[in-house]
Amino acid sequence: PPIVLFYVEFERKCRSHVSLLCCHASCFGDEDNAGQFFSSGHTNNWAVLVCTSRFWFNYRHVANTLSVYRSVKRLGIPDSHIVLMLADDMACNHRNPKPATVFSHKNMELNVYGDDVEVDYRGYEVTVENFLRVLTGRLPPSTPRSKRLLSDDRSNILIYLTGHGGNGFLKFQDSEEISNVELADAFEQMWQKRRYNELLFIIDTCQGASMYERFYSPNLMALASSQVGEDSLSHQPDLAIGVHLMDRYTFYLLEFLEDIHPASKTNMNDLFKVCPKSQCVSTPGHRTDLFLRDPGSVLITDFFGSVRKVEITMETINLTDPINPVNGELQIRKYSYVDQLPVSEIIHQKPKQKDWHPPDGFILGLWTLILLVFFKLYGMKHLKHIF
C-alpha cells in the first residue's frame, strides 16, 4: 500500500511552550532565591539506600528504606542515580499476607513498594564489602551501571542506613559488622577521590550517633535516630501482617518528607527538628561541624531531590546520513531448525575430545622406572639398538 509520510513543522507551536518553560525555570526569579539556587554548587544527585537486616521480623527496616526510596524518587532522583540495597525480600516473602506490597502505615494505608521499583543489590549481595566497594568505586569491571555509584566532585549524595546496630558498629545480615572507623575511612577515600561535593548521612539504628562520631572528612552532615546508650524504637505493629511496620524516626521522617515538593524551600534546620523526644522516645542527634555551609541555608531538596539544569536551545542539529549496511551477498545455503532430541545421534556421540596435557610427573616417573629395570636386567648392550 502506498505510504505517505509527511513531517509537520510544529516548531512554531512549540516556541510558545518553550517560552513558558523559560519563565518557570527563572521563577526562582527573585534575587536571593537565584542566589540560593546556585550557591549549593552541585550538579547531580545520588542516593545510596541500604537495609541491612534479614528475616521476616525485620520487616520494618525494609519498609524504612523503601519509604525513603519512594520520597527520593518522588522528588526527582531517577532510578539510574539510586543504588538500593535490600538484604531480604519482604514483599514476595511467603509469610506476607499481601504479596508484592510493603506497608508503612497500619491498616495498609500506604504501599511503599509500589509498582515501579528497581532493587540493585538484593539478598546475599548486601555485604559490607559490596557496600564499601559501591562507596569507593572499586568494583569489578563487569559490574553493570545500575550497580555503580558514578558520582563526581559535583554530586550531592544521600546515604541512608538502617538495621540493627550498637555502639560503634552496624550489623549486616546477622553475620558481619561495619564499624564507624571503617565508615569514616570510606568517606575519606571518597573525599580524596573527589567522589562527592556534599554528603548527607542518615542512620536509623540503635545507638546510631556512634556511627558518625569518627567522621573527619569535610562536607559531611550526619543525622541519627538515637544517641549512644539509647535504643531506637519501632512505631506500630499491624495485626494482619503480624510485625512492626516502621521505625519511629523514619516514620516521622516520611511524614515530614511527604510535605516536601520539588520546589519547596525547607532547610536542614527543619529536618533536625523531626521526631523530638516526645514522639521518638530516643533523642535524635545530628552533626554539622564538618559541613562548610550553614545548615540553615541548605535546602532539603539539595539532597532528597534532583537538580535538573535544563538548557533550552533554538538551534537545529543536522543528523548525519545513516550507515549503509553491507548488503548481504544472499546466503545460498538454506537454514533449518535443529532436531531437539536426536536419539541416534546422541547414542553414537563421540566422547568429547579432551585437551592434551603433557604426561604427569607420576607417569614420567613410572616409565623411567620401567626403563631402568629393563636395562638393568638385560644389560646396557641393548641401549645402542634403541637409540
Binding site: I3, S142, P322, I323, L341, I347
Partner: protein, 577 residues
C-alpha cells in the same frame, strides 16, 4: 496508513507497524505480536499465559553496527552484539508447576532463575564471556545473576539443543545455569515490562499488575531470544524476541472459592485497546472441554473460533481480536467473564511427569531419588535426564541405579562429569527408554561435605538448594503435529520447533531439593577467643605479676585524731606517734 491524533493543537505522527524505510537503506521489517491464552483448569484454578513476540530482520553477526532500534529493546540488542550471543533463554519463576493437576505448561520453567545461552562460533573465551554476560543481565533484570559462576554452570552434552535455526551444534558453545534460591518480585517485573514496545501503557501489558500477579500459585516470566526463518524459503534469518509470562491463579486466594473468573478478578484491570504497534493482538480462551457450553459459559460471546494443535492435542479456542473495535463493544472496555455451571469431567492425564526427593537420615549421607512416570498405555519413548548437583553433595556414581518395573533399565547414553571442590558441579546426563505405563526410578547416593566457615550463607539453617532436574523427551502425540514452521500459527503453539508429525518435544522440570548441610555453631570462634583470653589473663597474668612485682611495706594512713596529734607533736619538736 497514517493516524493523526489532534489534541491541544499538536499533530502526532503514527507510523504503521511493520515496514519502515529510511532513505538509502533496504527495507527493515519490525513486527510485534501479542497474545493472551486463558485455560480454565479442572481444579477450578485458571491458567493465563501472555506472549509478546518481536521479530526484527537485521544482522547482529558479521560486526554490523546496528544503531536504529525501533521495537526491539536496545539493552538486549547491545547484549547480543557485544557478547556474540546466538540464543539466550532466561526465566524467573516463583512456585512449582504441578503437572498432575494442571497439565503441561506452554513454556516450562524451573523454580528460581534459569539461564542458558548458545554463543556464536566466533567466541574464543566462552567462560569469560559467560561471566560478563551474567553480570550484565543481573543489572538489566535486577536479579542476583552475578552469583552464577563456575560452581553452578554446566555444559550439557546432549540436552538443550538450540531452539532457533542453525546448522552446527557444537556443545562447547552452550552454557546452562540455575539459581533455585532466586526470588522473583516486582523488581524483576519492572524491567521486564520496560522491554515491551508499548511498555505497560497499552495493549495486553496493561493487565500486568504486580499485586495480583504475585498473589498466585505459580508465576513465571521469561525472555527468549533466537534467530528464526524469515519466510518459508528460510534463506534469511531474523531475530525473534519472545517475552512470556505464565501465571496460575488459585481458586481460593483470588476468587474467594467461587468458580467465576473475569479479567477484572484476575488482573484488577480491563482492556480498552490493543497496542498500536502490534500487528496482531488476540485473546484465546480454551473451550475444548466445553463444546456445547455445558461446563462453563464465556461472555461476551464471540463468533471467532480457532483450532490449534498444541502439546500433542487438538484444542479449540474462542478468539477475541483486540485490533477490531467491535470487540470492545459499546462500553469500550473488554472484561471477559467465565462462569462455571457444573464441575464434572476428568483431565487428560499428562503422558510424562516426574518427581524428585531426598531420602535418608542424618547429616552425613543421603540418597537422591528421581521418578519418571510414563502414562502412555502402550508406547514407550526415550527421555534425556540432566542432573546438575552442586559439589558439596558428593555423589557416588557407583551406586547409580536405574530401574523400571522392578527390573534394571540400562541407559543407552551416559555422560558424567565429576565435580571439583569449589570449582565445578556434578553433571549427569542419561538417555533412558521409558517402558509404557511404568515408573522409572533413578537413585544415587551422596555424602554431604563440610564447608569452610566463610562459605556459609547468612541463614545456613534454611538449607542449601539443589537445582531441578531437566527431563527432555519426544512424547508420542495423539494428533498429527504441524511440521510446517512458517505457516501463520498462534504464538503458543510455535515455541518448540517440530520435525516429525507423530511426536512433540516436551521438557519437564522436577522439584528443586533442599538439603541441610552440617552447620557449625558460628559463635564458636568468639567463645574460643573469650575463653583463651580469660585463661591467659588469669593464669599467666597472675603468675607474671607474682614474679615481677616488688613489694613494699606501707603503713596505713593514720586516723584523724592521730594526725592532729602528730601535727601538735611536730610543732612541739617531739617525734610523731
Amino acid at each position: 496508513f497514517v493516524f493523526i491524533m489532534r489534541c491541544n493543537f499538536r499533530i502526532v505522527l503514527f507510523l504503521p507497524p511493520g515496514l519502515y524505510k529510511t532513505p538509502g537503506r533496504k527495507m527493515q521489517i519490525w513486527l510485534f505480536y501479542e497474545e493472551l491464552v486463558i485455560r480454565p483448569l479442572h481444579s477450578g484454578d485458571i491458567y493465563a499465559s501472555f506472549q509478546f513476540r518481536t521479530v526484527w530482520e537485521t544482522d547482529f553477526m558479521r560486526g554490523n553496527k546496528v544503531s536504529h532500534y525501533r521495537l526491539f529493546p536496545k539493552s538486549l540488542g547491545q547484549v547480543i552484539s557485544k557478547f556474540s550471543v546466538r540464543e539466550l533463554h532466561i526465566s524467573f519463576t516463583q512456585g512449582y508447576w504441578r503437572t498432575m493437576q494442571w497439565g503441561q505448561p506452554f513454556q516450562p520453567s524451573p523454580p528460581g532463575a534459569e539461564l542458558w545461552v548458545w554463543f556464536q562460533d566466533s567466541v574464543t573465551d566462552v567462560d569469560g564471556t559467560w561471566k560478563e554476560l551474567t553480570n550484565v543481565l543481573s543489572g538489566i533484570f535486577c536479579a542476583s545473576l552475578n552469583f552464577i559462576d563456575s560452581t553452578n554452570t554446566v555444559q550439557p552434552s546432549a540436552s538443550f539443543k538450540p531452539l532457533g535455526i542453525g546448522n552446527e551444534t557444537d556443545h562447547r558453545f552452550l552454557r546452562y545455569a540455575t539459581l533455585p534460591r532466586e526470588i522473583v518480585c516486582t523488581e524483576n517485573l519492572t524491567p521486564w515490562k520496560k522491554l515491551l514496545p508499548c511498555g505497560s501503557k497499552a495493549g495486553l501489558a496493561v493487565l500486568l499488575k504486580s499485586e495480583k500477579l504475585f498473589h498466585s500459585s505459580f508465576h513465571s516470566q521469561a525472555v527468549h531470544i533466537r534467530p528464526v526463518c524469515q519466510d518459508w524459503q528460510c534463506k534469511t534469518t531474523s531475530w525473534e524476541l519472545r517475552q512470556t509470562l505464565n501465571v496460575v491463579f488459585d481458586l481460593h486466594n483470588s476468587a474467594q472459592g467461587k468458580r467465576e473468573w473475569s479479567l477484572f478478578k484476575m488482573f484488577s484491570r480491563t482492556l480498552t485497546e490493543a497496542c498500536p504497534l502490534a500487528s496482531s493482538s488476540k485473546i484465546y480462551i480454551d473451550i475444548t472441554d466445553n463444546p456445547q457450553g455445558e461446563q462453563f459459559e464465556v461472555s461476551p460471546a464471540t463468533p471467532l473460533l480457532s483450532q490449534a494443535v498444541v502439546l500433542g492435542d487438538r484444542r479449540t479456542f474462542s478468539v477475541y481480536d483486540l485490533t477490531q473495535q467491535i470487540t470492545f463493544g459499546t462500553v469500550r472496555s473488554l472484561n471477559l467473564l467465565i462462569r462455571w455451571k457444573s464441575s464434572e469431567g476428568d483431565m487428560l492425564r499428562p503422558l510424562l511427569h516426574a518427581e524428585r526427593y531426598v531420602a535418608g537420615y542424618g547429616l552425613q549421607t543421603g540418597e537422591i531419588h528421581t521418578l519418571m512416570y510414563n502414562n502412555h498405555p502402550y508406547r514407550s519413548f526415550p527421555v534425556l535426564l540432566l542432573d546438575s548437583v552442586p559439589w558439596y553433595l558428593r555423589l557416588y556414581i557407583h551406586t547409580l541405579t536405574v530401574t523400571s518395573k522392578g527390573k534394571d533399565n540400562k541407559p543407552s547414553y551416559i555422560h558424567y562429569q565429576p565435580s571439583k571442590d569449589r570449582l565445578r558441579p556434578h553433571l549427569l546426563e542419561m538417555l533412558v527408554q521409558l517402558p509404557p505405563n511404568s515408573v522409572t526410578e533413578v537413585t544415587v547416593q551422596f555424602e554431604r561435605a563440610l564447608l569452610k566457615w566463610t562459605e556459609y550463607t547468612p541463614d545456613p539453617n534454611h538449607g542449601f538448594y539443589v537445582g531441578s532436574s531437566v527431563i527432555s523427551s519426544l512424547v508420542p502425540s495423539i494428533v498429527a503435529m504441524d511440521t510446517n514452521s512458517t505457516r501463520e500459527r498462534p504464538l503458543f503453539s510455535s515455541f518448540f520447533p517440530c520435525k516429525e508429525e507423530s511426536s512433540y518435544f516436551v521438557r519437564v522440570y522436577t522439584e528443586p531439593l533442599l538439603v541441610n548441610l552440617p552447620t557449625p555453631d558460628f559463635s564458636m570462634p568468639y567463645n574460643v577467643i573469650c575463653l583463651t583470653c580469660t585463661v591467659v589473663a588469669v593464669g599467666y597474668g597472675s603468675l607474671y605479676n607474682l614474679l615481677t612485682r616488688s613489694f613494699q611495706i606501707e603503713e596505713p594512713s593514720p586516723g584523724l585524731a592521730k594526725r592532729i596529734a602528730n601535727i601538735i607533736r611536730k610543732m612541739r619538736g617531739v617525734p610523731p606517734l
